[in-house]
Each structure stands twice: as C-alpha cells, then as structure tokens.
C-alpha cells in the first residue's frame, strides 16, 4: 500500500494552498460582510482552471483524477466555505451531470465553456416537497412538438441565481418515477419561462447564494434533454456519489484549518499565568480533533482512489460524507470552545466556520439518507 501523493498533485496542492493564503484569506472577511465574492477573484480562479479540473483535456478540463480533485478541495476548503461552494456544485454536480449523462454533442457544446468558467452551472433537483425523497419531485416536463415544456419549482439551488446553465431534473412519467420516469434537462439562462425566484437568507455560507428557480411553461429544445429521456434519476445518483467525495474533502480542509488556528491560539492565550495549551483539557480537545480529521482524510483519499479505479463507491461515498461532515462539526465546536469568547465573535473566522460547517450534515444528501444508503448496502451484502 502506497500513500505517496503523485508529484503533480503535490504541485497542484501547493498552488492552491498559496492561492488560498495569498488571494482568498485576505478577502474572506470582506466577502462575509458584503455577501459576495469579487468578480475579479472568480475570473482569476477560472483562469487557473478551478472550474474544470476533473474533466478530460479534450473538453477543456484539467484531466485531474478524483484524488487530485479531492486534494484540491481540501486545500480550497481551508478558506471561507463560500469559495468551495462556488466551485464544487459547478464541478461536482452541474458539469459532472453533463459529463456523466450527456450526449457527445452536449459535451462538445457545454463542457468547454463550463470548464473555462465562462458558463457557471447549477444542479436543480431539490424541490419544496422533494428533498431527501428526491424521487418525489413534482416538476413536470411534457413534450409539445419538438419542445419540452417544464413546469415546477426548485428550491435552495446553489449558484442558482448566477448560473448560466442549470441541470433541471423533472418528471416525464409519473408512473415510473425513479425507474425511468425522471429526465434531466439542460436549461440555459434566458430560455423562455425560466426565472430566478427568491434568493435565500441562510445561517451561513455568506458569499455563496442559493435561490429558488421557477419554471413556468419553460421551453426546452429536444436536443437539451440530457442524454436520454428517463435516465435522469440514474444520472443524478451517479453524480451525487462522486460529489460526496468532494464534500468530504472540503470538510477535511476546513477542519484542518480550524485545528491549526486552535493550536496557535492555545499556544498564545495565557490564563492563570501560562498558555492554555498547557492544560490537559485543551490538549485532549486538540488530540481528538486531529484524530477525527486524519480518519476522515484517509476515508476521503481511499474513496477517491476507489473511484479512480472504477470501483463501486456508493457505500464508501455515503460513509465518508456522513463521517467527514460530522467530524467537521465536532472540530468546529471544539475550535469555538478552545477559543472561548473570541471564538464567538464575528471578527474572528472561528464563528463563521462554525456556522458554515453546519450545512455539511444536511446538503448533498442528509446524513440520515447516507445512513440509509450504508445500511441498505450492509443488509444486502451481509458484511
């Protein structure tokens, strides 16, 4: 067993690390206050290839493996969560939907501008009455002549208000539902009948926007059926499996940053005449943080490795998503505790991280759904 990170990914990691420290960290407080990532930073990230890294060169991607992508998100996750929440839904969900489920013509048309960051993607599955129960979506698509007509509402769609391309999952046969009744459509900004509704006000993730998307007799040309009619649910499930690795990687990177800030603080904060790091109570918290982070990191790398080998990862992805998100919440809680009062203050990144971390247990499949996936597989396989 060889744990060496390939040389090109060490270089990639170093580049992202430098970019985070030099370009993103200095603006993260401003982004928090203004609730917006400066467009010039988004442009810079696009030029560096952040928006297309795991896709083949022929489509303008970086040809980075899942392991490389995980290492990338781990580094990016160290900074404010809004940055990885701009990139990951675009790459892991929207662009991956086109790559996994699209026809060759669709890949040729959409992947190059999406990889270049010229067109931002969003993934629209969740609805007011269909979150965890994704097969219960109500958005309908009906064929009229050479067009499909979409009607329905999508909720909490990350990047929804700024996306140029939205992958919309809609019901094409309500009797079949998950078994061939759901179809994905490539909807572009400007298609008649598509508009952005309310932009959500959230607990955290400032700088990252989620919005309601409305489809009112939205006209979609036949060639924008992603892949084939009825294949949507299968595509969504495959896409979500891969996405979970990215989420876990970001959680690991964010938690690692919190651990490092906690060590620094513990070494400098003096109480009762000595640094609080001298207290066993603090030391144990640091040790617990480090242990959980390391476990989540190894699970992330292994799941990414399995994905790169072409092995089935449904159970692994569910396990690492649930484990890493819960790890991140434990770590964030301890980081606030070690920092004490300052950890609760808006002026310091710990408070922001605490709020931003909480969503990890909810989005991209709640941890309860992950446990259902794990248990279903366990009971089927028997070990």
């Amino acid at each position: 067993m060889d744990f060496t990170i390939p040389q090109e990914y060490e270089i990639l990691r170093k580049m992202v690390h430098d970019f985070v420290v030099e370009r993103l960290d200095p603006i993260s407080q401003k982004v928090e206050e203004e609730d917006e990532i400066p467009p010039e930073i988004i442009k810079e990230m696009a030029e560096l290839g952040f928006f297309g890294l795991p896709f083949p060169e022929e489509y303008g991607g970086g040809a980075v493996s899942k392991l490389g992508y995980a290492l990338f998100l781990e580094e990016l996750g160290a900074s404010s969560a809004c940055f990885s929440n701009l990139i990951a839904p675009h790459v892991s969900l929207a662009t991956s939907s086109v790559f996994i489920g699209g026809t060759e013509a669709q890949k040729q048309k959409y992947l190059p501008p999406m990889c270049a960051g010229e067109k931002l993607g969003a993934f629209a599955l969740t609805e007011p009455n269909a979150g965890s129960d994704a097969a219960n979506i109500e958005t309908r698509a009906e064929k009229k002549g050479d067009k499909w007509i979409l009607n329905g509402t999508k909720n909490w769609i990350t990047n929804g208000s700024i996306a140029d391309v939205v992958i919309v999952y809609a019901l094409t046969d309500k009797n079949l539902r998950a078994r061939g009744g759901i179809t994905a459509f490539i909807v572009e900004k400007g298609f008649p009948g598509f508009r952005v509704g309310t932009v959500d006000v959230k607990m955290g993730l400032r700088g990252s926007h989620t919005a309601q998307l409305l489809f009112e007799n939205c006209e979609v040309p036949e060639e924008n059926v992603l892949g084939e009619v009825g294949m949507g649910f299968l595509t969504a499930m495959k896409v979500l499996d891969g996405g979970r690795i990215g989420l876990a990687a970001g959680a690991v990177g964010g938690a690692q940053r919190l651990l490092e800030l906690s060590i620094q603080w513990a070494n400098t904060r003096v109480q009762f005449g000595q640094p609080i790091a001298n207290n066993q109570a603090i030391q144990w918290m640091l040790a617990d943080m480090a242990m959980e982070i390391e476990a989540a990191r190894l699970m992330t790398y292994k799941t990414a490795w399995k994905y790169d080998q072409g092995l089935k990862i449904t159970r692994d992805a569910a396990m690492v998503k649930a484990f890493a998100s819960e790890m991140a919440c434990h770590v964030a809680d301890k980081a606030v505790q070690i920092h004490g009062g300052i950890g609760y203050m808006r002026e310091y990144p710990i408070e922001r991280a605490y709020r931003d971390t909480r969503i990890l247990k909810i989005y991209e499949g709640t941890n309860e759904i992950q446990r259902m996936i794990i248990a279903r597989d366990l009971l089927k396989v028997g070990h």
């Binding site: 040389q7 090109e8 060490e10 270089i11 990639l12 170093k14 580049m15 430098d18 970019f19 030029e47 560096l48 290839g49 952040f50 890294l53 060169e57 303008g60 991607g61 970086g62 040809a63 980075v64 990338f72």
Partner: protein, 262 residues
Amino acid sequence: MLNIAVCVKQVPDTEARLSVAADKTRIEEQGISFILNPYDEHAVEEAIRLKEKQGGTVTVFCLGPARAEEAIRTALAMGADKAVHLADAAFGGGDEGTAAAALEKAIAGKSFDLVLAGRLAIDDASGQVGARLAEKLGWPHVTAVTRLAVEGREAVANREIDGGSQVVAVTLPAVITAQRGLNQPRYPKIPDIMKARRKEVAKVTPADLGLSGGEVGGAGAKGKVAGLAPAPGRSAGKVIAGEPADAARKVVGLLRDEAKVI
C-alpha cells in the same frame, strides 16, 4: 528569439519548521515539504515573460536529488519548455564551486542567450552560484536585479544597492540573478500542471557532462559544512514605559549603546 536557461533549486518550504539532522551538518528532511526557491520563481517568471514577448525557449537546469523534480515540474507548469536535472547522487554534498562547475558544463555551448537564476537560495543563502557560473562561462553578470529589459543583444538591468539602485547594461550572453520585486510569479494553471508531466526532463550524470567523480559533489568541494545550529531563540522583549517622546529617546539610546545597531 531568446534561448534562456533558468537555474533553479529546491529548498525547504518557508512554512516548514526546521531542525538539524543527527549528523549536525544538514537539516532534517523527514516530515518537511520542499518548494521551488522563491527567488528562482522570479527568475522562471521573468524567463517565461521574455519568451512570451520575444519568442524562444526556456530550459530549466536543476542540481539536486530526485525529490527536486517537483520544483522542476513546477517551473515547467509555469511555462518552461524542458529541463535538465543533475540528479545523480555524485552531485550531492558539494559547494558553490562544484555546483557552478557542473551547471557550466550543462549550459555552455548550447547557444543560450541568457541565464536567469535567483539571487540566492533561501536554504544556505550563499548567493554565489549565479556569479560563479557567469565567471566560468566567461559571461557578464548582474546580480539582485529588480527590473530587466532585453533588446537585441543588450540587457539593461536595475539592481538594488545600498540606499538606491544602479542600472547596468550588459551584452548578451549574460547571467542575471533575480531579486524580489522583479515580477509577480504566476500561479501554475491546473491544466498546465497536468501537461507538465509530459515535458522532457533529461537526467544527466557527471560523465554526461564530461566531469570525473572527483570534480563534483562532496569529492570536488573545497569547503564542507562542519556544523549547523538552529538560530538561538528570541529572548523576552523590553517594555519601555513613559511619555512617547521620553520613551523614544530611551529606545534610541538603547539601540546605540546596548544593541550597538545605530
């Protein structure tokens, strides 16, 4: 068209916590990461900008162990075309003289117009290799350059001197060493990092360069590191109380009489 050679070195990460190895002559390499020497990064950037403007090639030269390939590939990812890696174990343990001699053999006679290098490597900070290499090549050199303009066969370089700057004009071929401020090195783009894997990195041995074992590395070195010690820890600071004007006067007095720095 400019054919540019860039000399780079891999050094411990500026963020790494260094300790001295058991033999007291090297730093402990276990558990630390290595980077492309920051001054060399400026040299690579300048070479690529010149190539982008005037056309030509950028070839990276690096003397260092196998792990140094990561620094080489970083330079290739930034935009250098190919590289020559003096990776043979025999090159190890040398001094500035053996490094410059080996680099000279690798670079001379290959019709390079310009050699760029960092003004020093942040690990041993001797800052000699660039100038020694120029001497061996018989080329002019300008060190610690903060601005460089190349036109035709002339290079005009601004270099930092105490309290000011000096402008030096040299005829190519020449050796230029980079100071901070020369440029802002680019981040390598992700697709370029991946493509850099396919660029040529030629591994050369002393024999390939026409050098005998006794002329390179530890065997050929005139100096040897006899000992290495960590910097002494900083002692507690002194707080000078009182009105600002009085305190400032006291600080000046202490700097002159106690610290003897002014």
